[in-house]
Structure formats: structure tokens, C-alpha cells
């Protein structure tokens, strides 16, 4: 039995009786905007959005639609539904959805977007189902619905005390006309029972038992294993290889020269050599005997030292573009009481999620089935369809749990490789990269150079600020994640302000790394602010509060959005200085800022940053020994992501992780390019954070009357400048280039 109630063209709710006596709610939702100005979802598919399945025994299955990379979305989205449905969390089972653009929207892990885009729609999904169950109960008792209420999966008639469990109402509920999805009443937040309750990760029991969950764990009967060797120089092409010899090696079943797409598309099928064997180790062993002739291409002429030299040249010349200009910077600087000039630099870095890139694929009877740890499976399907020349309709993608994302798996190059190999052979195949493959073929956080000049007046107020940001790109286009927006703070808050940019071409792939753009810009801006605070003789917290209290310049309606940048497409997002003042004051209070005297060599630094709709201020205390050994003692965090922390247990974990991720980037991470290839190879020369470096991170959330927003990213950026500013407070030494390990911190 299927009952459809068409509310309007954009809404549709279907209730179906299903096998086993349960009912299923499939809600098709309006286009998601969450009511705030923010970047559009990465997919524009408009389709049904969530599922609830209620069984006669009262058990509820909720489908989790988004890829789980460790951000906790597999709990979070179902929690929103469960709360409005009014069922107990312990009676909820969660199922991971496959990619299905006919049923779900926005199956993406990226941009800290899951919370703001789903906060209202997912609650509505639950609320509509609850309303139908309540109607069914009221009809059973012939009483007005308004006399009924729900809790714990039971409808109660208040006056008579009669009760009906959801599981007993299924047949009747399936006949109820669904209420309007857009006007269905939602709970008063004080009545939340699941939202706001610490909820443990649904996969944790399986994780601690070593159950197969991840892409790398997928097993398909009869499958072979593949390794894919790419040119060490980015954009290089395989010309020839000793494939005949490779094919004779133990276990090797197939070997291919892969031409790759032309022109080279890094987020697509890249040229290389694929070796397929009975076991992955055999494929790896054969790889050691592989001899490839590469056409290295033009990028072989590029290097990190060359980029730095070019940046210095570009900085001497007039900027290529002006992104923002307020007042008169030059004359204001000229009349400033004190001026500071500084260049801040951050290097390329790698994502290095711990699960190496992999995908399992099987091409059979013209249909391709894929199991992949992808943050953007819908984009992956498009890329695979293009690379293989088959229709998207013939490609099915199953989502696995993902061993870390950080933005690396927003691109689907590895999916394209596995799919291409699968199409050549009858067997299913699992492609798995080595760690070296991963570090040497990443979409790196691009390096950046900020050439600052600033001035303060006699009262210690900033009167002039210029950033000549040297980055990568061509013409008016920034390379992916190498951009900056015209409204980047402190734009609008300083009367004489200039944000200028120059770019140089880059043959190295770049992409979004957790808090893209922000993870470098915050370091530069918040450290230079500290420079100016010091020049002004002001307390760094008070100096920032004063700046945030300036009346912001109100811009006319924006012209065309800035090109590229990977930071949310340049959608005009209004920065709310009052919210930032709130978290800055809170973190200063929690860290007892300025209320204790610290010994020489120990210092506190502060920084704040707004990204992904989240407001974060952080204080780091660090100690530098006389020999220059750095120890991060503690981090205090204050964040404002709106009115509600949906899963406090996960929010704390995620925030601590983001902060420590920032600390890790700051301490030692650097990718260098020589002759068009990446120098670093593995965790021995690209350093991830280790246990001994993990300092306490104390997290506080300031709840404000704003819609809830995401937590995957915005806590990261301030950690880096707060640490560098702490080092300055401890030693008087200013870190102007990352990683910190490059700066000699010795003092006496």
C-alpha cells in the first residue's frame, strides 16, 4: 500500500507499508537553505531526503545519508529525526545510505555544512512522521488530536490516560494524510530529549571489535588487488613500461598503461600504470620491478624555492588585483604613530588521512558497482562516468565508513582509477594506494605569502592595514583553496584598508584541507594583529576587542562573487562582531588571561577566527625552554556555533581534534616541491601529531540565539596563531613562517 499526498510541487511525502508490517516514511523536502546566507550545497539534486522505518516492535530504523569521516554525522542527522519523532535513542537503529540522488540531497562531507543544511529539514522529517502517528491514535480513540501527546514512542490521550505504542499504529498511520512539511510544528528546544544529549558513536562497538567498516575492508568474492603508479611529477604521463615482464611476475593477473584524461585533470583519471594481482602484496612486489618511461611535462620546472623567489618578486611589484579598498591606506600609514611591516608564510601541507586512498569496483554486464570512502560520492560518480564514458545511471556507489577525510576525499581521483581498472577486467578489484602514493599525490593546502603593512595611531588604534597576498592561480582565478575573500577579517573594521593579491601559476594540485583558506589566513592575520598590538603597547585581548567594537563599513550590494577559492564560493556572509566579542571574552575569562604572572619562557597567546559560520577564540599557553624546545601546555577554546550543541560528546571530541590538528600543522608540517614532485614520502618525514604532543584542550561553547552551524572545521584556524602568539609572549620571538620547527626559538 502506498499513499501519496502531494502538498505542492516541491514537497512530497510518501508513506508505504513494507514487508514485515512496518511503515516507511520517505520525505521529499524543499530545497535546503537553512535560512542563512551560506554556500550552496555541492550537489543541486532535488530529491527525497530521509527515511524512517518503524517496525511493529517499536524499533525504528533511521537512514544516515551523509558520508561518515569521523565528524559524527552518522549520529547527528538521525538524532535530529529521532528527537522530533519522539522515540528513544536506544530504540533507534542506524543504516548508512548508499549514494542515491533520487532519495537524498547533499550526500557530502565537507564545508561543515551538514548541521546548517539539515538542522531544520531533518527535524521536519521526524515531526511529520510523529504527527501522522498522533493523528492515527486520535482517530482510533475518536478524540481531538490536540488532546494527545507523544513521548518515548508512545501516544497518550491526556484526559483518559489511554496509550498506544507507535508500533501498534502503523497500519492506521499509513492511511493518514501527511501534514505540510514546511509548517509542521517543531518542538520547543526545552523539550529536546535526544538533541543536546551526549550520544556515543553508533559504530564504536564495531570499531573496538575490529569489525570491517572502512573502504579498505571491503571484500567482494573473487576480487583482485591493484596498485596504481603515477608519474612523480604532477601532470606527467606514462609513455611506456615493461608490462610484459610485469605480467610474468608471481600473482600478477593484469597490467595496464593508463593514458589518463587530456587535458590533465587531477580530480579525474590521471595517467599511470596499473598492476592487478591475486594479492595486494604481490601487486606491490611487482611494482618494485616496474620500469616506466615518463613524459614529465612542464611542472618538472617548478619547485618550492622557485615559488618563494617568485613571491618575493611579485611582492615588490604593484599587486595584480585589488580585492578591497577602504579609505586611503598610503596617507594613513604615512601619518601613523607607529608602523609595522611583516611577511607571513605558510607552506604546502598534506591531508594524510590514516586510511590510504582505496576503492573497490566491479564492472559486470555493463554496470559498475563501487565501494568507496568518498566525501563527495555524487561528484565521484560524475568523474567516473566521464573517465569511463558510461552513463551515471549505470554506476552504483556504496558508502563505507571513512578513515579520515580532512578534505582529501572531496576529490575522487582514486575512485576513477579503480573504476577504470574494473572496466578492463572481468574480476572485481580493490585498488589501494601506499602511504607514499597518498603523500606524493595529494591535493595540497596551497602555500601562501602575506606581505603586511600596518599602522597604529598615538592612541593605539589601527588606522591602516594592507595585505598583499601572494598566492597561486592564473589571471583572476585562484588555484583551488588558494583564494581569499574581499570581506576577510579585518576587512570592514579598519578605516584605511587594502587587500591586494598577486598569483603565480602552479602545476601542483591543491584542494580544501580542513578549514580551507582559513587554516593559513588566520595564522597570518591574527599574528600580524599581535604585531600591531605589541607596537601599540596594548593587551592583545583588549586590542582585539577594541577592533571588534569598531563600527563596520557597510558595503553596497556585492558585485559578482570572487572567483574560486574553495572557501564557500564567496557567498556574502555577514561577520557578526558581537558574537566574536562574546567568545573572545569567554575564552579570556576561562584562561584567566592577564590574571596570573607566568615565568619567562612561558606565555599565553590569543587568536580568533570566523569560518564555516562558526566563531572561535582560543588561548594557548606554551613554554619554550632556553634551548628552544617548545611545549604546548594547554589550549582554551570558546566557540559560538549557535543555539544548540546537538551531540555534546561528539562536539567536544571534534573540537579538541580540530585544535590539535591545527597545533600539528603549526609544529612541523610542510610539503616541499622539487622538480615538480613532492619531496616527502611518509610519516617519518611528514610529521603527524603524536600522543606526547597532545596537550589538554578545554572546550566551552557559548550558546547564542542563532541557527546551529557546523563544528568540523572552525575550531582549527585560531589554534595556529594563538600558539605563535604564545611563543612571542614567552620569548619575544615572532614566528613568521610555518612550520614553527623552522624558527630557532632559543633564548637566554
Amino acid at each position: 500500500m502506498t499513499i501519496s499526498a502531494r502538498v505542492d510541487r516541491r514537497q512530497f511525502l510518501r508513506v508505504s507499508a513494507i514487508a514485515g508490517g512496518g511503515i516507511l516514511f520517505a520525505a521529499q523536502l524543499e530545497s535546503l537553505s537553512a535560512g542563512t546566507a551560506w554556500a550552496a550545497p555541492l550537489t543541486d539534486d532535488f530529491v527525497p531526503n530521509a527515511f524512517i522505518r518503524i517496525m511493529p516492535d517499536g524499533m525504528v530504523t533511521i537512514v544516515a545519508k551523509n558520508p561518515e569521516i569521523g565528524q559524527g554525522v552518522k549520529n547527528m542527522l538521525p538524532m535530529l529525526i529521532a528527537d522530533e519523532l519522539d522515540v528513544d535513542w536506544q530504540n533507534v537503529r542506524i543504516e548508512q545510505a548508499p549514494l542515491d540522488t533520487t532519495k537524498f540531497q547533499g550526500q557530502v562531507a565537507g564545508g561543515s555544512t551538514a548541521t546548517p543544511t539539515n538542522w531544520t529539514p531533518m527535524r521536519r522529517v521526524g515531526a511529520v512522521a510523529r504527527a501522522m502517528l498522533m493523528t492515527a491514535a486520535a482517530q482510533t480513540w475518536s478524540v481531538p488530536e490536540m488532546e494527545c501527546e507523544t513521548v518515548h514512542g508512545v501516544v497518550t490521550h491526556r484526559a483518559s490516560g489511554r496509550k498506544l505504542k507507535y508500533g501498534d499504529l502503523l497500519g492506521k498511520a499509513a492511511l493518514v494524510t501527511p501534514p505540510d512539511l514546511n509548517s509542521v510544528p517543531l518542538k520547543d528546544p526545552k523539550d529536546y530529549r535526544v538533541i543536546g544529549t551526549p550520544t556515543r558513536g553508533v559504530d564504536v562497538p564495531s570499531i573496538v571489535r575490529g569489525k570491517p567498516l572502512y573502504g579498505i575492508d571491503v571484500t567482494v568474492p573473487g576480487m583482485l588487488y591493484a596498485t596504481f603508479v603515477k608519474c612523480p611529477v604532477f601532470g606527467g604521463k606514462a609513455v611506456s613500461a615493461n608490462l610484459d615482464e610485469i605480467k610474468t611476475l608471481p600473482g600478477v593477473k593484469h597490467a595496464f598503461l593508463v593514458e589518463g584524461t587530456t587535458p590533465v585533470t587531477f580530480n579525474g583519471l590521471v595517467s599511470g600504470v596499473a598492476i592487478v594481482a591475486d594479492s595486494w602484496w604481490q601487486a606491490q612486489s611487482a611494482r618494485k620491478q616496474l620500469k616506466v618511461t615518463w613524459d614529465e611535462g612542464a611542472t618538472a620546472a617548478q619547485s618550492s624555492t622557485g615559488f618563494t623567489a617568485q613571491a618575493a618578486e611579485l611582492a615588490k611589484q604593484p599587486a595584480q588585483r585589488s580585492l578591497r579598498k577602504d579609505g586611503a591606506f598610503d596617507s594613513a600609514l604615512g601619518s601613523a604613530a607607529k608602523t609595522v611591516e611583516a611577511m607571513y608564510y605558510y607552506p604546502f601541507i598534506s591531508h594524510s588521512p590514516l586510511e590510504p586512498q582505496n576503492t573497490t569496483a566491479h564492472f559486470k554486464d555493463g554496470k559498475l558497482t563501487i565501494w568507496s570512502p568518498s566525501q563527495t560520492p555524487a561528484n565521484g560518480r560524475r568523474i567516473v562516468a566521464t573517465a569511463l564514458g558510461i552513463p551515471e545511471a549505470d554506476i552504483a556507489i556504496n558508502l563505507t565508513r571513512i578513515g579520515g577525510g580532512f578534505g582529501r576525499r572531496l576529490t575522487n581521483d582514486y575512485m576513477a582509477e579503480a573504476a577504470w581498472i574494473a572496466k578492463q577486467i572481468p574480476e572485481p578489484v580493490k585498488l589501494l594506494w601506499t602511504r607514499d602514493d597518498d603523500i606524493q599525490h595529494d591535493f595540497y593546502r596551497p602555500a601562501g605569502w602575506h606581505y603586511f603593512k600596518g599602522g597604529v595611531d598615538a592612541a593605539g588604534k589601527i588606522v591602516a592595514w594592507r595585505d598583499h597576498f601572494v598566492s597561486f592561480g592564473e589571471g583572476t582565478n585562484f588555484a583551488s583553496s588558494a583564494g581569499i575573500g574581499p570581506n576577510e577579517f579585518p576587512g570592514r573594521f579598519i578605516p584605511n584598508y587594502a587587500l591586494d593579491t598577486s598569483v603565480m601559476p602552479l602545476g601542483v594540485p591543491t584542494g580544501a584541507l580542513r578549514a580551507p583558506g582559513s587554516n593559513g589566513i588566520a595564522f597570518a592575520v591574527q599574528c600580524f594583529l599581535d604585531d600591531l598590538a605589541h607596537a601599540a603597547g596594548k593587551d592583545p585581548v583588549q586590542f582585539r576587542l577594541d577592533l571588534l567594537s569598531n563600527t563596520p563599513i557597510v558595503d553596497p550590494p556585492p558585485p559578482a562573487p570572487p572567483a574560486g577559492g574553495g572557501r564557500g564560493g564567496g557567498a556574502p556572509v555577514v561577520f557578526d562582531a558581537a558574537r566574536m566579542r562574546g567568545v573572545l571574552q569567554l575564552v579570556a575569562e576561562k584562561a584567566a588571561w592577564n590574571r596570573q604572572s607566568l615565568p619567562r619562557g612561558t606565555g599565553m597567546g590569543v587568536a580568533f577566527h570566523f569560518s564555516h559560520l562558526g566563531y572561535f577564540a582560543e588561548v594557548v599557553q606554551a613554554t619554550v625552554a632556553k634551548d628552544g624546545t617548545l611545549k604546548v601546555d594547554k589550549v582554551w577554546v570558546a566557540g559560538d556555533v549557535g543555539s544548540q550543541i546537538i551531540n555534546p560528546l561528539n562536539a567536544e571530541n571534534n573540537t579538541q581534534g580540530a585544535v590539535l590538528d591545527g597545533i600539528a600543522e603549526a609544529l612541523a608540517q610542510e610539503i616541499t616541491i622539487e622538480k615538480g614532485r613532492t619531496v616527502q614520502t611518509n610519516f617519518n618525514n611528514f610529521q603527524l601529531l603524536r600522543m606526547k604532543q597532545a596537550c589538554p584542550v578545554e572546550v566551552h561553547f557559548l550558546k547564542t540565539a542563532n541557527p546551529p552551524t557546523g563544528l568540523g572545521e572552525p575550531a582549527l584556524p585560531p589554534a595556529i596563531p594563538a600558539l605563535c602568539n604564545a611563543i612571542f609572549a614567552a620569548t619575544g620571538k615572532r614566528v613568521r613562517a610555518l612550520p614553527i620547527s623552522k624558527t630557532d626559538l632559543k633564548w637566554s
Binding site: 573496538v208 572502512y214 590514516l354
Partner: protein, 175 residues
Amino acid sequence: MTVTFKVNGKPATVDVADDTPLLWVLRDTLDLKGTKFGCGIGQCGACTVHVNGTPFRSCQRRITSVQGADVVTIEGLSTDGSHPLQRAWEEIDVPQCGYCQAGQLMSAAALLARTPNPTDTEIDSAMNGNICRCATYLRIRAAIHRAATMKAADTNGSGRRGSSGEPHSLFGEEP
């Protein structure tokens, strides 16, 4: 060549190339997918297993070196998820992505076996070879302390099994 050893108490005989690392025998020959591949050079600890009771990076152990040995993987840490570390990991909700956690648990189990009540410093030393890319280190530390308490309570016969109750504070946790 043929190698015979025990995995999680059960005998296993495999016929693979001599230089095959134990990791790939466990994962691809014996279909024990709990042990993870992270770096292949013994830097990350995701592949940690116990060989005759001692933690080793299985990516660095040739299969021939475990002839006759007793190998325990995450799947054999307990039969039912009841090892105090598994219970503590669940109670404290340690994982984010979770990929490294099997290796973390195996290193932590070896630590608790020889140091039943470790200090923070002892934990940091024992666990420094295990990378968590999500940086769940604070919860790992707290969960090891918690497991030590649970284990002591189990030994005293007063241990509460399972992981019910509210998740507890991660700060101020003392062994």
C-alpha cells in the same frame, strides 16, 4: 612457503611469498580486517598486533618470522568486546574516524598487561608510536586510565560490566 602459527588461539597455515608482511596475511589471506594499514614502515602503529604477548607492527614482521608464534589481533582481544579497554573506549566514546583505534587498543592492552596502573607519562611513552590523525589522544589517555580502574575492579570482583551510564568527564581523570 608454508607458515603455521596461531591467530587468536586458532591454528592457521598459509602459503605465501616469504617476504609477505604479517599484516597482509592477516588482512587478505585470513580475512581479519581489524588490523589496519596506515604507513607500511612502522611509523603509525595502525597495524599493531601481539606476537607472543609483545606488541609489534605487523607491517614490519615477515610472515616467516611468526612460524609457530601466537598472534593476537584486535578480533582476539576478547571474544565479546568485554576487555576493559574495549569497554572504556565505548564508555568514553574515544573514536572519531576510528581507523587507528585497533592499533591503539593493542598497544594499550600490552601496556596494561605489564603496567596495570600507568601514569600519564607511562601512557604517553607506550602510546607515542600510535598515530591518531583525528587526534583523539586526550580520550585515549582517559580511556586507558578508565580501563585500568575497570580491570582492577574486575579483579576485585566488584567490576561493573558493560558501558552503561553517562559518559564521564574527560578532565581531572586520575588513575
